[in-house]
């Protein structure tokens, strides 16, 4: 199937999202769609799938003009998509979600045996470990993303649009996805792939289209002809830059957060680590290793059943998240910005200022708009947050810009210990560097960071030391040399071999290199 988009324009109040975009996807190709946060990628995909109607321009399927009024029309025409936002029903099972609109029936009743068999088939392509009978709300963010992908695959459509499918999954699952995509491509399917990860894009796509501020900056260039540098400069108008953290010696700093023999209600065992003042301590692991859950335990959201946690040397028993924040000055940036990070219906201003209301309130408890603005606006500028104004509802921002809001509020909060869970999911490369530099900057000001990230380069750029977690236990601790190759190999060897094998000797193992 060939899909052509001609001269598409689309505006929202105060924003021109797309301005004369033309785009073509051919059968048997993987076409990467790239661009900064807010460049218009998701808007384009939503127009192709009938979620939005363009203000101008048209859509051709195999040369015939198509006019989609709803996603249903697009699906009927053989177009399926994984959208950037989650579209799963939390209280339905994985199987039901995957086959939602076409549950197989027998005698008029849903045939659950077949639901789970069918769902299994598509889920297995990416991750066989997810049970189709689990309710979706019990899954991690990464697992939900995999379910979304399986759902799109299950439509077996001629055109497959993937909007940041790999944003919150790790290398392993991403590799499985790429294998599937290559196979689909060989079958003659047309695939559009949105990602901020350049390595992935160059590895898997045949052509690349770059959007910049709603316009086409590179139109379907063969990937072979595009160097990394050319893609980047098409996207951001200048060269890429990696954050320079520099060598830091933190060995004789005081410990601010310590865990000794900690076990939790979720099954962590014997967790022990020390976070020093001004340090960035990385916590690496595969999806499902229990990293987010450990963060939750540290902020009082999950019960600690054994062991001791010390903050600034004193043993603490934190009973609630507000207590962690207010009394111990520990903050947590959730990986799940929609459910836990943001109040989508409220403006950018309140979403950022929520963490400082108490601090900036006058004696009478009054919070002035001016005081809020003085805190919010510099952060908006620093993070290059694209929004018509700070009064814009956060739900109307592009995905990456929403992520920036959920980070901004914690930069404002003035906490002493910050647990950051996947900070740059869906963030473009330019802002990623800015966020890395901001994280480094706050640590220079004495904030200590526990960094959870599945992004290996990010981990190796930022962390001073890296803890490796597997199956709810820590299996290794490595001083970060900031040299990518040997570091990633050592980390992966811990993950694949567990504590015993990798503890002292050098890296090996067949899969040690990916990530």
């Amino acid at each position: 199937m060939r899909l052509t988009v001609e001269d598409i324009g689309k505006s929202f109040p105060g924003v021109t999202a797309l301005d004369g975009v033309s785009f073509e996807i051919r059968p048997g190709e993987i076409h990467a769609l790239m661009g900064e946060n807010g460049a218009g990628k998701s808007t384009l995909i939503k127009i192709i799938t009938g979620l939005y109607r363009p203000d101008r321009g048209r859509l051709l399927v195999d040369g015939v003009p198509a006019d989609f009024h709803s996603p249903r029309d697009a699906i009927a025409a053989g177009i399926s998509a994984v959208h950037q936002e989650r579209n799963l029903i939390p209280r339905f099972t994985v199987g039901e979600n995957i086959l939602l609109e076409r549950l197989p029936r027998r005698h008029g009743l849903v045939d659950y045996g077949r639901v789970h068999r069918e769902a299994r088939r598509f889920l297995d392509m990416i991750d066989p470990s997810i049970d189709t009978r689990t309710e979706v709300r019990r899954l991690s963010v990464a697992q939900m993303q995999i379910v979304e992908i399986a759902k799109a695959l299950s439509l077996e459509a001629g055109v497959l649009l993937l909007d940041e499918p790999t944003a919150s999954i790790t290398g392993h699952e991403a590799d499985a996805l790429f294998a599937v995509l290559r196979r689909l491509k060989a079958e003659g399917k047309a695939i559009v792939f949105v990602s901020h990860k350049l390595e992935e894009v160059t590895a898997i796509s045949d052509r690349v289209t770059v959007l910049r501020d709603g316009k086409v900056a590179a139109a379907g260039e063969p990937i072979a002809s595009m160097s990394r540098g050319r893609i980047v400069s098409a996207m951001i108008g200048r060269e890429e830059r990696v954050a320079e953290i520099g060598e830091r010696d933190l060995r004789d700093r005081t410990a601010v957060l310590e865990a000794r023999g900690v076990a939790t209600a979720l099954g962590h065992r014997d967790i022990g680590f020390t976070l020093r003042k001004g340090e960035i301590l990385g916590l690496y692991g595969l999806v499902g290793a229990g990293r987010t859950e450990l963060a939750r335990a540290l902020i009082g959201d999950v019960r600690i059943t054994a062991g001791e946690v010390r903050v600034n040397g004193r043993p603490v028993a934190i009973a609630s998240v507000p207590e962690a924040i207010r009394r111990h000055r520990i903050g947590y940036i959730s990986e799940d910005r929609k459910a836990e990070g943001l109040i989508l219906a409220h403006p950018v201003r309140s979403n950022v200022a929520i963490t400082v209301w108490r601090r900036i309130a006058s004696a009478l408890g009054l919070v002035g708009r001016g005081a809020e603005r003085r805190i919010v606006e510099p952060l908006v500028r620093k993070l290059d947050l694209k929004t018509p104004s700070i009064e814009q509802g956060v739900g109307k921002l592009s995905g990456g810009n929403q992520q920036k809001v959920s980070i901004a509020k914690w930069l404002a909060a003035g906490v002493e210990i910050l647990i950051i869970d996947e900070p740059t999911v869906g963030i473009d490369i330019k802002t990623k560097t800015a966020i890395h530099e901001l994280i480094a900057e706050i640590t220079r000001d004495g904030v200590s960071v526990l960094l959870i990230s599945s992004d290996m380069p990010e981990m190796i750029t930022l962390a001073d030391r890296i803890l490796v977690m597997r199956d709810f236990a820590l299996v290794g601790e490595i001083e970060n040399s900031r040299r990518y190759e040997p570091m990633s190999r050592r980390i992966m060897s811990f993950i694949h071999q567990g504590a015993e094998g990798a503890a002292e000797n050098e890296p090996n193992g067949p899969e040690a290199a990916h990530g």
Binding site: G14, D55, S320, G341, W357, D384, S389, T433, E437
Partner: protein, 346 residues
């Protein structure tokens, strides 16, 4: 940060003070559009009623109107503050009547001065609201169920304790206060209601507590993870709701000059009508204080209109029910249109 100051390619999309106006004006217009619509409906009612029955704007009727408006406004506020948290309070009538009977007993039974009795009654209202909030937060059960139960519980306890006897020998000062008029027709009760409204505007717009109530209502999990003590905030909102219900009851005592056990039983519908007509979201996270006042004005107008038109009281319930449905449907329709427009479907 060099990464961010190098480029500023699209002046429209990057924040600057100068660009702040459009979106803000947009939101403001949407909200005030709703309010203006409501005000227009009220105005039409007034014009029609006045032309049919000139007595509608007589000093006497206006005075009566201003007293019941005051009460409707405060009843509406009582529900509005819990709607803000995404919950509801079906017990406001019961809390109101408990405060009423407590005040009656303290004045008539114990001979306490009205001010003391009223303060104690308000405290009782707040305490009953607190109890609701506490039960909701502690049990984790939906506020609908908890307040449905407590509505019955409070009412029952009041009836048992008071034996449902009306206190009608209250100090004369109470009824006198209810009869006071400023400028020919403005009851001091209305001034109190407006003052409460002003305080609520300050609360929800300009205080940390009010903002936290709204945040907790819109997304409790995100609020909690941002350091908002959601449980405490919900309890405070319910306490406030209880105090407001008590206040509405006491205003009725001043109007009637007596404390009656039948007070509060017809509050539920108007208590939802006023905020919902005024644009407060049932799902929590957004309130409109002025909208609630206008909504209450519409309720009062309809009630008084039916009265001057000498249409039987039976019609009132039917009429209010129709208005509520119409308002909710209009709101749905408006929401759909707005959504369609933003999705580009016309």
């Amino acid at each position: 940060m060099t990464a961010t100051e190098t480029l500023n390619p699209d002046p429209v999309m990057t924040v600057a003070d100068a660009n702040e106006a459009p979106a803000r004006r947009g939101a403001f217009l949407a909200e005030s559009g709703n309010l203006i619509g409501l005000a227009a409906i009220v105005l039409i009612f007034w014009v029609v009623l006045t032309s049919l029955r000139p007595g509608f704007i007589s000093n006497f009727n206006l005075f009566t109107l201003s007293r019941s408006l005051a009460i409707d406004i405060v009843i509406g506020f009582s529900t509005m503050v819990v709607l803000a948290t995404g919950g509801m309070n079906l017990a406001i009538g019961s809390i109101g009547v408990c405060a009423v009977m407590a005040a009656g007993f303290l004045m008539q039974g114990l001979g306490l001065p009205p001010l003391v009795a009223f303060a104690a009654a308000l405290a009782l209202g707040a305490a009953l609201g607190w109890l609701n909030g506490f039960a909701i937060v502690r049990s984790g059960v939906n506020s609908f169920i908890i307040t449905l139960a407590s509505a019955s519980l409070y009412l029952g306890a009041m009836l048992i304790l008071s034996k449902a006897v009306t206190f009608n020998e209250l100090p004369a000062a109470v009824a006198d206060f209810g009869k006071l008029r400023f400028g020919g027709f403005v009851s001091p009760l209305l001034i109190i209601a407006l003052a409460i409204g002003a305080a609520l505007i300050v609360l929800f717009r300009f205080t940390a507590l009010g903002r936290e109530i709204l945040a907790a209502g819109a997304n409790p999990r995100a609020a909690e993870l941002s350091g908002v003590p959601v449980g405490r905030v919900v309890i405070i909102a319910h306490t406030l709701s209880g105090a407001l219900a008590g206040a509405a009851g006491l205003m009725l005592v001043a109007r009637l000059g007596a404390a009656m056990p039948s007070i509060g039983q017809d509050w539920l519908l108007p208590s939802f009508l006023a905020p919902v007509l005024g644009g407060t979201l049932l799902s929590g996270g957004a309130v409109s204080v002025i909208g609630t006042m206008l909504g209450a004005l519409l309720v009062t107008t309809i009630r008084s209109g039916l009265l001057v038109m000498q249409v039987g009281n039976f019609w009132l319930q039917l009429f209010l029910g129709v208005i509520l449905l119409a308002a909710v449907m209009l709101d749905r329709y408006r929401g759909k249109v707005a959504e369609r427009r933003s999705l580009g479907r016309r």
